[in-house]
């Protein structure tokens, strides 16, 4: 009990201190709430998103903050709530946010949370017969294809893996015509990697590659000898792995053990993070992954530094959170959001309309297109693992 008290005091002290050098009391502030996984095996996503949102808010505030509907300037503050990657808790968190004056929320990390969450939102805005929650949510990480079409209140700023792998496979065909066959590996029980593999395979076939076979495994599998032996027997020129870092590394290590050396190695977008390099830098050497973020432009470099300063790492997911803050700033200004307690529902409606009306937003790598079903078309590039770092390999001209 005493430990808890000590911890509590330390925590209170820690949470009070930063306030003292925060914005002055007479300044107006607008709180943007993010949510995502900050516990469990996906904690790193929440940590990065939170850092990215805070870094972006700091940038915006340094430039004078955001102009509200009544012409006053406001500073942005960021709060981030943990949903433990659990659907019920995600719903709880959003209901909690929707019970405040907030007019938008940013999140979640996990696609399964997004599925449930977007499901409780009103399906068609303005449909009085639908009692779903009327609250705009914009997702930064949840990557499963087509999530935003569940509700007109749900938006995403995540890259389109369809476009990425379409481009990558075409590039492979153009630059490496000697490669004829592809072998796939897929983490079968995770909706995101499973769906993305469908994209990889279809695009490989569309570009004249022969798919020699597929090996499948589960998210927390630890032994891959059977799968890799099939891979070895197929002896394909290219191996494409659609899996998250833990099993990507497991498979790469087993490939090394069995001496499987494809001429080209392709990975899943989400694995282009530091996790893969911490788990198996040596084995991942050369793996090519399309990603919507790399510190290549001046803005991206600066963003990466700012995010690092806030204790996170900028990758394709957290960069999306960073961009979202600027998107929200623009929409707040263009829609003349009042951010007053008595304009809450009006602000939410305006926010939704503003987000839905966007045709293009500014991204760290260039302009980001918006589709009619509230998804993003983000610029991307190919990175590959080189000496324990992600290095840009090629930037497709789109």
């Amino acid at each position: 009990m005493r430990n808890a008290t000590v911890a509590l005091t330390a925590l209170l002290a820690g949470s009070v201190l930063p306030l003292s050098d925060g914005p002055l009391a007479q300044d107006r502030t607008v709180k943007i709430t993010g949510f995502g996984a900050k516990s469990g095996v996906v904690r790193v996503f929440g940590v990065n998103s939170e850092a990215a949102m805070k870094a972006a808010a700091e940038e915006i505030n340094k430039a004078g903050g955001v102009t509200l509907g009544d012409g006053t300037k406001a500073k942005l503050t960021v709060e981030f709530l943990d949903d433990r990657c659990n659907a019920e808790e995600g719903i709880s968190v959003v209901r909690r946010i929707a019970s405040t004056d907030a007019f938008v929320a940013v999140g979640p990390t996990c696609s399964n949370v997004a599925e449930s969450l977007f499901g409780i939102l009103q399906k068609k805005a303005g449909d009085a017969s639908d009692s779903g929650l009327q609250f705009p949510i914009i997702a930064d990480v949840a990557a499963k294809g087509g999530l935003a079409k569940i509700s007109e209140w749900s938006f995403r700023n995540v890259p389109s893996e369809f476009e990425m792998y379409k481009s990558l496979m075409a590039w492979v065909k153009a630059t490496r015509p000697e490669l004829k066959t592809l072998y796939g590996g897929v983490e079968k029980d995770f909706a995101h990697s499973n769906a993305t593999f469908g994209v990889m395979k279809a695009q490989a076939e569309a570009n004249g590659l022969q798919v020699a076979g597929t090996s499948e495994w589960l998210l927390n599998d630890t032994t891959f000898s059977t799968q890799v032996r099939d891979m070895k027997r197929a002896n394909a020129d290219i191996v494409a792995i659609s899996a998250h870092p833990f099993t990507t590394c497991g498979v790469l290590k087993e490939m090394q053990r069995q001496g499987v050396k494809p001429k080209l190695l392709i990975g899943l977008t989400s694995s282009s993070s530091i996790e893969t390099l911490q788990g198996c830098a040596a084995q991942a050497e050369g793996i090519i992954i399309p990603t919507s973020f790399a510190p290549v432009t001046p803005e991206a470099k600066k963003a990466a530094e700012q995010v690092a300063k806030h204790g996170g790492s900028a990758d394709l997911h957290s960069a999306a959170a960073y961009e979202i803050m600027f998107i929200l700033k623009d929409v707040i200004e263009s829609q003349k959001i009042m951010a007053k307690p008595d304009t809450v529902q009006a602000d939410r409606n305006k926010m939704r309309e503003g987000l839905a009306a966007l045709k293009e937003t500014n991204g760290l790598l260039g302009k980001v297109g918006r589709t009619a079903d509230r998804e993003a078309i983000k610029p991307f590039l190919y990175v590959h693992a080189k000496d324990g770092n992600w290095v840009v390999l090629h930037k497709p001209s789109s």
Binding site: I91, R95, N112, E115, G119, I120, Q122, K123, D189, A191
Partner: protein
């Protein structure tokens, strides 16, 4: 306000999950199959309202019956074993159910959408509540009517001869057998009742989360199912309710102000609670003391 109503929904459904394990625990058996029954209820009820267009109440009745029937069928072989063997056997069964739904696809075309369970990608758009204009409050009232009915039924059962028989088997199997109780029948009945309750709970779960997928019904959920009654105490049904409020209301939502410490405290406080109150938060002694004070066993939500 909406937030507290949402929390009340979660507490209600988890109470049903906990009560389903409570029935089985009364006979001294630890079953980790409850998440499996819960999953069956969720999928059956979801498919009935979304694919067959049924209204919710009959769909829940059918989901309860299906889960109950499966529980009964599993109970016969499973309850031949006990203790750790039963824990692992029921885990195996629960996982088998989960893996069944991992492989289960049954979709119909509705307009430009495909509806229904789709293997590993789950079953989305179970939107009976919002589509029929139920407000959050309506849903809360509905859930708590169901919870109250189930708790009243179990309370009555507990006070009747049947309850005495259940507890007799739980306390001392040999003695119960010698006094002419058919142990297998008692255990299987308890398992069936547990299956019925889990089926209703799962059915509601599918509707207020709108999306279900196999990962949600794993060992963790099964562990929570037995955690509620054990943490709350087996002396009566309110112990389970109290433990659900403790875990969902206090540990998960109430401690949110603790930020990153919240999840560390989650496990830590469960350990602490078991050390301080090994017979549960609401054990027989406390119940007697509370009765003497003429107060109800309820406590305000910690959130």
């Amino acid at each position: 306000m909406d937030f507290y109503l949402g929390l009340a929904q979660i507490i209600g459904v988890h109470t049903l999950l906990g009560l389903s394990a409570y029935c089985v625990l009364l006979t001294g058996q630890v079953s980790l199959a409850q998440a499996g029954f819960f999953a069956i209820g969720a999928y059956v009820a979801g498919m009935l309202t979304v694919l067959a267009g049924w209204s919710l109440v009959p769909a829940l009745l059918i989901s309860a019956l299906v889960s109950g029937a499966v529980a009964c069928a599993v109970g016969f072989p499973a309850l031949r074993v006990k203790g750790l063997m039963l824990v692992v056997a029921t885990t195996a069964f629960g996982e088998a159910v989960r893996l069944f739904f991992f492989n289960f696809t049954y979709q119909i075309q509705a307009g430009n959408l495909k509806l229904g369970p789709h293997g590993g990608e789950g079953f989305r758009q179970i939107r009976y509540f919002p589509e029929n204009g139920w407000s959050t409050l309506d849903v809360v009232i509905f859930i708590w009517i169901v919870v109250a009915l189930v708790m009243a039924a179990l309370w009555w059962l507990d006070r009747s001869r049947a309850g005495a028989v259940l507890r007799a088997v739980g306390e001392d199997e040999l003695a119960a057998q010698s006094s002419g109780i058919n142990i297998t029948a008692v255990k299987v009945s308890a398992m069936t009742i547990g299956g019925l309750i889990a089926g209703i709970g799962g059915g509601i779960f599918a509707h207020y989360t709108t999306h279900i997928e196999h990962i949600q019904f794993g060992v963790v959920l099964a562990t929570f199912a037995i955690a509620y009654p054990i943490l709350g105490g087996l002396s009566n049904v309110f112990g389970t309710l109290l433990a659900v409020i403790f875990i969902q209301g206090f540990l998960i939502e109430g401690l949110r102000f603790m930020g990153d410490w919240r999840n560390l405290l989650f496990g830590g406080l469960i350990v602490l609670a078991m050390n301080i109150r090994p017979r549960g938060l609401l054990d027989a002694g406390t119940t007697r003391a509370l009765k003497r004070l003429f107060s109800s066993g309820k406590e305000p939500s910690g959130a």
